[in-house]
């Protein structure tokens, strides 16, 4: 896999900062823009390496994305960096019209997505970015499952003209099993084959799906784990192929289940191959401050919850037949 040499033991945000620096060396057109969060997002690593190519814009996210559009118009490849919340909610109009509608070459990292954002609470736990960003035509979206994935996504983002949104988790994630595929837009990968149920994961939830598959194996259930880092475009063929075999599925995402990744999967299935699907993620409620582990437990997003959903959806399939 491209970038398989990325050190897996880093926090993903640290891997992000390093990848920015690495890409910046190869691609002189890259500019990194910040809205007063650089040592949190780790865009600061780029600032330290190339101070002349770093643009501080203060706490003004609308302007952040507008300025990014302007820099893209001048031939640069801007990475406007902020938390996912402030991209998806504060800068949405500018991302939509100045960047996406104009088709500009801007790469938007959404940092601190989903639950594991420290104890900041609802306003900082961005649950809606995947759903919101999915509505914008022409925007590619990815949610990396580990650091190698992130690096490959960032490489693909730079190599692909046009707007891209990708998530950067704050946590240290365990490395996913490596495959030959690397990251490609619109391509997913089977990380663990199985015949009884498909677990479709994106972002950090894929590794929880793998742990769920272990739990299921102990109950003699062979779960297939499919990692879909490319949320848009999504791998229709693989979704149909895998669910065509298992005839039931669970989706898992680090965000709201309304309109996000799970909905993207069932949109594909409803069209061609309706099978029962359970969607793991936040079930339409505001997040409270709390510890990461306890939040995942509260919201039913632990490996055991995924495994339970798999058992449940297999029963639903059986009931259908």
């Amino acid at each position: 896999m491209a970038g398989s040499d990325a050190a897996p033991e880093l926090e993903m945000r640290e891997a992000f900062g390093r990848a920015l620096v690495e890409l910046g060396q190869r691609e002189p057109r890259i500019r990194v823009l910040d809205a007063d969060l650089c040592t949190s997002t780790k865009a600061s690593l780029f600032r330290d390496a190339y101070p002349g190519r770093f643009v501080q814009l203060g706490i003004a996210e609308q302007n952040l994305f507008g300025v990014a559009a302007g820099l893209a118009l001048e031939g640069f490849i801007p990475f406007p960096c902020t938390f996912a919340s402030f991209a998806a909610r504060r800068g949405l109009d500018q991302i939509a019209i100045s960047i996406c509608y104009a088709g500009l070459n801007v790469k938007i990292p959404g940092s601190y997505p989903g639950l594991p954002t420290s104890r900041a609470g609802a306003s900082h736990n961005c649950l809606e970015d995947l759903a919101v960003m999915r509505t914008l035509p022409g925007l590619r979206i990815a949610d990396p499952g580990d650091n190698a994935d992130l690096l490959a996504i960032m490489q693909a983002a730079v190599a692909t003209p046009g707007p891209v949104y990708f998530r950067v988790t704050r946590l240290t994630l365990p490395p996913l099993p490596r495959t030959a595929l690397g990251f490609q837009w619109g391509k997913g990968v089977i990380l663990r084959p199985g015949k009884d149920v498909t677990l479709f994961g994106t972002g950090m939830m894929t590794s929880l799906c793998l742990r769920a598959a272990d739990l299921l194996a102990a109950d003699s259930v062979q779960a297939e784990v499919v990692h879909l880092a490319s949320v848009k475009p999504i791998d229709r063929e693989l979704i149909l192929e895998s669910a065509g075999r298992t005839r039931c599925a669970v989706t898992a995402e680090n965000g709201t289940v309304l309109g996000g990744f799970g909905s993207a999967v069932i949109e594909v299935l409803a069209d061609r191959l309706p099978v029962p699907v359970r969607r793991i993620g936040v079930q339409d409620r505001w997040i409270e401050s709390g510890g990461i582990d306890e939040l995942f437990t509260l919201h039913g997003m632990q490996p055991s919850d995924i495994a339970a959903a798999a058992q449940d959806v297999m029963r639903a399939r059986a009931g259908q037949k």
Partner: protein
């Protein structure tokens, strides 16, 4: 007056301002949609920009050394399209595809095929940020010559995004950035002072770190002078805003200072009268609406029910 020191002869500018007004009304009438008020108030500014101030090459719309133009008040698209067509960016007849499905002249300016349009707009308040990014980019490319012009509405300056951009442009000392506020005192639904007071406007820009010039936005010579000054005279290190005092709907009697003509398409007969009066006011041969009798069929959606 320093008129003789600057470029285009007054009669050319006047002709262009006249034709921008004409063509704007032709477009809006023919498509039966659009914003006359803010197109007409900006006509003189656009004439001076496109025919005197800005260095552009219609044959090479992406020429690196060109001056850039961002129309943040993107609903003034008819006036911008008119200026671009007159300047030779595309055939004048294409203006009649304004707002037509499959055409290149969208209802709000949009980067996507039409030469001369740099950025996409529609929501107010977003353009100055884009212009700021371009100005930063030009500096980063060490292209000292090109400047970025950005046209803003006065009502538009209610939008916080404008002030975010203004603050950042001053922070980066972008003296290659020039904003022009079409200060026509009227928003969509009334006067600025009734709906949302913006005075003291010059003080606001100054407090945000900009140099300010106030001009009569319908004096072609005055605009020329102001732009000339900003090019050669004024001290550098700060972005500049031209507060251009204008009249919304300028040139069409019943539209002047009248918010009802902010967005309103005249029927062809009314347009015909308006354009005749406009020609007379400019001392031009009387000329009416060119497509009288050639209008599209009415919308049919739900029409029968």
């Amino acid at each position: 007056m320093m008129r003789d020191q600057v470029g285009a002869p007054p009669e050319v500018l006047e002709e262009m301002a006249y034709r921008i007004r004409r063509l704007s009304m032709e477009m809006i009438t023919y498509s039966r949609w659009g914003h006359p008020g803010g197109s007409l108030s900006a006509a003189d500014i656009l004439a001076v920009l496109y025919f005197d101030v800005m260095t552009v090459d219609p044959a090479r719309p992406d020429w690196e050394q060109r001056d850039r133009f961002v129309c943040s008040k993107a609903h003034a698209a008819p006036a911008v399209y008119a200026a671009l067509a007159l300047r030779g960016f595309f055939p004048i007849d294409e203006i009649y595809t304004y707002c037509e499905l499959g055409g290149r002249l969208e209802g709000h300016v949009h980067r996507g095929g039409l030469p001369g349009i740099e950025s996409s707009g529609g929501p107010l308040g977003i353009g100055l940020s884009v212009a700021t990014g371009m100005a930063l980019g030009l500096r980063s490319k060490e292209l000292p010559r090109p400047r970025v012009f950005c046209l803003l509405g006065d009502g538009e300056s209610n939008e916080g995004n404008v002030w975010e951009a203004a603050m950042s442009a001053a922070h980066y000392h972008l003296d290659n950035l020039i904003a022009v506020v079409d200060y026509n005192k009227v928003m969509a639904k009334g006067f600025t002072w009734d709906l949302m007071g913006i005075e003291p406007l010059a003080d606001k820009w100054r407090a945000f770190g900009w140099d300010v010039l106030e001009v009569d936005g319908h004096s072609l010579a005055g605009l020329q002078e102001a732009f000339h000054q900003l090019r050669w005279v004024r001290p550098r290190g700060r972005p500049l805003v031209l507060i251009a005092h204008t009249v919304k709907g300028k040139g069409i009697d019943r539209a002047e200072f009248n918010y009802k003509w902010h967005t309103h398409a005249p029927d062809p007969e009314t347009a015909d009268q308006m354009l005749r009066a406009l020609a007379r006011a400019y001392g031009r041969p009387e000329e009416g609406y060119s497509r009288l009798g050639l209008e599209h069929s009415k919308e049919t959606f739900y029409g029968g029910e």
